[in-house]
């Protein structure tokens, strides 16, 4: 298990956004996180990436307790993420966005750059090529020189994935990676995620597009009202009576 979440609770004032969530994510798989709006999916991703601290409970990453660590420490341990409401660096170009995302893997020392040494030039060329590769994988290399704010909605989502890839994470958390995308884009992002998983990256994703989730994920966890309803493979989950009830209401169950 790469990620073990146990009894995680997070309260905001009187609201229990997470109320004892437990789930295990296997190494190298694509794990889906679904549930109705307000179920606590994004809060869970925020806890896992260190943006918010859990009120109680434990999170183990590869056997190390990581709950309550700040976001930058978690990122250094190999956790990268995208945001539901897309957080790019709007004034930077796409290429610059990805190059900024290389923070953990690019040393960029000051003094070689101060004196414009050839070593700095070589290094920077290499970083730029690596960044271009990330853009290529996300299918937006043609937009490299565009400012991020000039991109379409779907392109922004892909750029955010490209930026997350730049740090070569072990665990990639995707918060609605294909929301608002057209069918072609959905398929491309799907095959990107598939190929990342085949290379050994572990992916935990939130998505409301059920065809996408069912086709891509090896395991799915369903959240409702801050609790884990069930975890299983797509087949099991889609026939689980409580899941059907949570999505469609009790009369359909």
């Amino acid at each position: 298990m790469l990620l073990q979440v146990k009894d995680v609770t997070r309260t905001f004032g009187g609201v229990r956004a997470l109320d004892g969530v437990s789930l295990d994510v296997e190494k190298g798989g694509v794990h889906g996180l679904i549930g109705p709006n307000g179920a606590g999916k994004t809060t869970l991703i925020n806890v896992l990436s260190g943006i918010t601290a859990p009120s109680s409970g434990t999170v183990m990453l590869d056997g190390i307790a990581v709950h309550g660590l700040p976001a930058h420490r978690l990122a250094a341990m190999g956790v990268a993420r995208t945001f539901q409401n897309i957080r790019l660096f709007p004034a930077m170009t796409c290429l610059e966005n990805v190059m900024a995302g290389q923070y953990l893997v690019a040393s960029r020392p000051f003094f070689p750059r101060l004196f414009c040494l050839p070593s700095a030039r070589r290094q920077e060329k290499e970083y730029r090529e690596q960044a271009m590769q990330c853009l290529q994988r996300a299918g937006i290399e043609a937009r490299a020189g565009f400012p991020a704010k000039a991109l379409s909605y779907g392109e922004r989502r892909r750029l955010e994935i490209a930026r997350a890839l730049a740090s070569r994470p072990r665990l990639l958390l995707l918060d609605e990676p294909v929301a608002g995308m057209r069918q072609k884009g959905v398929q491309q992002v799907g095959s990107l995620i598939q190929s990342l998983a085949e290379e050994g990256m572990t992916i935990l994703l939130i998505e409301h597009n059920m065809t996408f989730v069912m086709g891509l994920c090896s395991r799915i966890t369903v959240l409702n009202f801050g609790r884990t309803l069930t975890t299983g493979n797509p087949e099991q989950v889609s026939h689980h009576p409580e899941v059907v009830e949570a999505y469609l209401g009790v009369n359909h169950a």
Partner: protein, 296 residues
């Protein structure tokens, strides 16, 4: 040669103040480049200026050593102040740094060693024009190159989106404090140069209005690239003299002209004067090289 000498006899001090103000604008730019709105630069200039002035006058410390000491001391104060106040964001940070500026002003107003309200009088005149412009050239070059280093990328990322920057692995507290401290060091250095240029420094000069002036230099010049603040400081420092040359009398008219220029820049050049030079680059088509990433 004669013409040059005559120019310097008339405008020498203006040229010096343009350089000092450009240095101070750059010091604020360092902090702004990490997205932190500080109004404390004037206070750091006061700390550096008073420290250096007192060291030369009262302890006979050599000029270079005393301005270095003033700069380092200012940086140390910046570090101590920065750690707590940089937890605040946006306008709250501005207010906190503004009150820090007031505290510094009141402290130098009431201490004996700083000369109280009268100020520090009789500081030996060691600062030279070439000294100021050499410092400015080194600072400008250093800041321009810093943009390509790890810290520079971090500053830029934090300014664009602090949450995303931290999710990428950037320790935002560390880099915000670094930007703030580097700004304080440079402001302290400029303050030391100023003290040894002006013969006298008083608490009044480093008050709120000067802190705002430094911010205006940045906004008018543009905060997207390092030469923006330099340009802004040059233009706005020279503007009263330019207006005098064109026959606009001193007093309210000149203030109005100042305000009008600021207004026009904000309305028509929201990225500052530097956008005059960058706007003509062709809009992105394919992979356009309008990007820092393409250089180094």
């Amino acid at each position: 040669m004669d013409a040059l000498n005559q120019f310097f006899a008339i405008y020498g001090s203006l040229v010096n103040f343009m350089g000092i103000n450009a240095l101070l604008a750059l010091s604020l730019y360092l902090t702004l480049s990490a997205g932190q709105l500080s109004l404390g630069s004037a206070a750091f200039a006061a700390i550096g200026g008073y420290t250096a002035g007192i060291l030369t006058m009262k302890f006979g410390v050599p000029f270079l050593l005393s301005i270095a000491a003033g700069s380092i001391f200012s940086g140390m104060v910046g570090l101590v102040i920065g750690l707590p106040v940089l937890r605040l964001r946006g306008v709250f940070l501005a207010i906190a740094t503004l009150s820090f500026g007031e505290v510094v002003r009141i402290v130098v107003l009431n201490l004996d060693i700083t000369g109280g309200a009268q100020g520090l009088v009789g500081i030996p005149n060691f600062t030279t024009t070439w000294g100021i412009y050499l410092t400015l050239a080194v600072a400008g070059y250093g800041i321009a190159r810093l943009r390509h280093s790890r810290a520079g990328w971090c500053f830029e990322s934090i300014r664009e989106d602090e949450t995303a920057a931290s999710a990428m692995g950037i320790n935002t507290t560390y880099y915000k404090t670094l930007a703030f401290t580097l700004g304080a060091i440079l402001a302290g250095l400029a303050g030391g140069l100023y003290a040894h240029l002006n013969y006298i420094i008083t608490p009044r000069e480093f008050g709120f209005s000067f802190a705002v002036d430094l911010l205006i230099y940045n906004i008018v010049g543009g905060i997207r690239i390092w030469y923006g603040p330099v340009l802004g400081a040059f233009l706005l420092t020279a503007l009263p003299e330019i207006l005098r040359g064109t026959g606009v009398a001193a007093g309210p008219m000149r203030m109005a002209a100042n305000g009008l220029i600021l207004l026009l820049v904000i309305l028509f050049l929201p990225n500052g004067l530097v956008s005059i030079f960058t706007r003509n680059r062709k809009p992105p088509a394919g992979i356009s090289p309008v990007s820092v990433a393409e250089e180094v």
